[in-house]
């Protein structure tokens, strides 16, 4: 786990990015099994098309889980106080997903050393898939 301290952090600092992909159909099927979400729009092109999609899509929660790796790689699992995102666009098989973040603010009010992050996930074309925020508590 990285040894981050509050005093080291400066507003505007960027996090080491996390990249995954190209995401294959097999990767999507593996996440469907592991995450307990076998919805057919992630597994069956015909059903996905009948729902108005171009074909199967990657689970939004797959993208969010990878975005979570950005946080745990940087701060470790136990320091993350909150994590949220909006699902801005869908990802499809063959996409490469890159997660990145930066320090938006820091505050030691009330004796708590909190760091606010702006985070996002984009695909290989630069389309924003997720846009979110996280709060990290540091010593």
């Amino acid at each position: 786990m990285t040894k981050l301290t509050y005093d080291q952090i400066t507003i505007g600092d960027t996090l080491p990015p996390v990249e995954i992909g190209p995401v294959t159909r097999e990767d999507i099927a593996a996440f469907a099994r592991a995450s307990g979400d076998p919805s057919p729009i992630h597994l069956d092109d015909e059903i996905a098309r009948s729902s108005g999609l171009p074909g199967i899509i990657i689970h939004g929660m797959f993208n969010m889980a990878v975005l979570g790796r950005l946080l745990t790689d940087w701060a470790g699992q136990t320091r993350i106080k909150s994590f949220s995102n909006r699902f801005a666009a869908m990802a499809v098989p063959g996409d490469t997903i890159t997660c990145r973040g930066k320090v938006a603010d820091k505050s030691d009010l009330g004796g708590k050393n909190l760091v606010d992050l702006d985070i996002e996930a984009i695909n290989q074309k630069g389309d924003v898939l997720l846009t979110g925020k996280a709060v990290i508590a540091l010593s």
Binding site: S35, D37, A65, K81
Partner: protein
């Protein structure tokens, strides 16, 4: 049907076990290769009392416990008409392999935008572990796409 009287509705509590093999499969499926998610010894060496659950794993506990589409059934909304708009997690304490969480979901809010073309259902779920320790809160926005 759309009925805002359901705001505040609480669903029956559910239990969900945190399974070591499921954590390992979940971690592998998202490209997470840190051994703390699959080896107890590695987790302990890194300072954890046991294998930690990945950050978004509580959402999968809800999936497996059959919680994720209760509001769809209640409001009679076909799942394909909806998308997952936003997801929030607040973490209070850590979740580990071997834990059994008790969760309870409620409908926190329902509202419409664009003259009803978009309808939003916000659910909130609290999870406590087997010792009654508050683990996390999940907040989910389900968006109903009309026409």
């Amino acid at each position: 049907m759309w009925d805002t009287a359901l705001i505040g509705k609480e669903y029956a509590p559910f239990d969900a076990g945190v399974d070591t093999a499921q954590i390992a499969a979940f971690a592998a499926s998202i490209g997470e290769d840190d051994p703390i998610y699959r080896e107890e010894a590695a987790a302990r060496a890194a300072g954890y009392p046991a294998i930690p659950a990945p950050l978004t794993f509580p959402f999968s506990l809800m999936m497996v416990a059959g919680q994720s589409f209760l509001v769809h059934a209640d409001l009679d909304i076909p799942i394909p008409k909806t998308v997952h708009g936003e997801q929030w997690f607040d973490f209070h304490n850590n979740l580990y392999a071997g834990d059994v969480v008790t969760g309870q979901q409620k409908i926190a809010d329902m509202f419409e935008k664009k003259g009803g073309a978009l309808q939003f259902i916000i659910t909130e779920t609290r999870m406590d572990n087997q010792d009654g320790v508050h683990i996390c809160d999940l907040r989910t926005s389900v968006v109903v796409l009309n026409n």
